[in-house]
């Protein structure tokens, strides 16, 4: 049984509240006494995935769970799915529109940042259906 389980909905194009789910996740983990280096890695992953939902998806959810020995972020969207996952995982490659790039997003670092910072990273995507990302972090 998880100690904490919370699902955060994240909506497409909602740049005003973007980052709030990540801020809540960080506050919760800080209260639990998670050390700062791990907190930083989890924050990078949750923020990147939250912004990916805002920028690229049709909306979705971040399912946040804490157990005795791990933190899990399970992220599911309602589409549109990633056409070429290999390219999407490549640093510097992005499909973000110009308007979003003007805000400083779309560097093509989101997915690589997640993979680098999570202890376990798994992504599944089907074009026309949706994307699912699972990230796990070990608590010592």
């Amino acid at each position: 049984m998880p100690l904490i389980a919370e699902v955060f909905p994240v909506e497409k194009d909602d740049f005003v509240t973007a980052g709030e789910a990540s801020a809540k996740i960080k506050r919760t983990l800080k209260k639990l006494g998670v050390d700062s280096a791990l907190l930083r890695r989890i924050s990078v992953c949750s923020y990147e995935v939250e912004l990916n939902l805002v920028i690229h998806s049709l909306g979705g959810t971040i399912d946040f769970q804490v157990t005795q020995d791990s933190v899990m972020l399970l992220v599911k969207d309602r589409g549109p799915g990633i056409a070429n996952l290999e390219l999407a995982m490549r640093e510097g490659w992005s499909t973000a529109p110009e308007s979003v790039r003007m805000m400083g997003f779309g560097a093509g670092m989101g997915l690589p940042n997640m993979k680098r910072n999570a202890d376990e990273f798994d992504i599944k995507s089907e074009a026309g259906v949706g994307t699912e990302i699972l990230m796990k972090f070990r608590l010592k």
């Binding site: 973007a18 980052g19 801020a23 930083r40 923020y47 805000m103 400083g104 997003f105 560097a107």
Partner: protein, 115 residues
């Protein structure tokens, strides 16, 4: 160097007055790509960016940065400053360019973020 001392060094103003400036500045970074900053920033970093929207504060907060520095007197959106006040992130503003700001910080021994 504290944020207050950095403010003096840069001849900067604090845009969200009342925020605590006693925090120690551990390092400095200049970049406008948010994901890039997410990858490179660290706790205590002073971040120089021309971006002025809400998500700047989200990144600074998540990385536990010491302050955000806006160059060239770029106007910062009120909602950004409200969020900065709420999250206790000092937002400094100066007429200097990012290049000048970086030079001044470097001359005082501030280095790259160390995670």
């Amino acid at each position: 160097m504290t944020v207050a001392e950095l403010k003096e060094l840069l001849g900067a103003r604090v845009l969200n007055e009342g925020v605590d400036l006693s925090r120690e500045v551990g390092s400095a970074y200049v970049c406008d790509l948010l994901s890039w900053v997410m990858a490179k920033g660290a706790p205590g970093t002073a971040w120089v960016t021309v971006m002025n929207h809400l998500n700047v504060i989200a990144v600074a907060t998540l990385l536990d940065m010491s302050c955000v520095i806006i160059p060239e007197n770029i106007e910062v959106k009120p909602e950004t400053l409200e969020k900065a006040a709420e999250e206790e992130i000092p937002v400094l503003s100066t007429g200097k360019t990012a290049f000048e700001i970086a030079g001044l910080m470097h001359s005082k021994g501030l280095g790259d973020p160390v995670k």
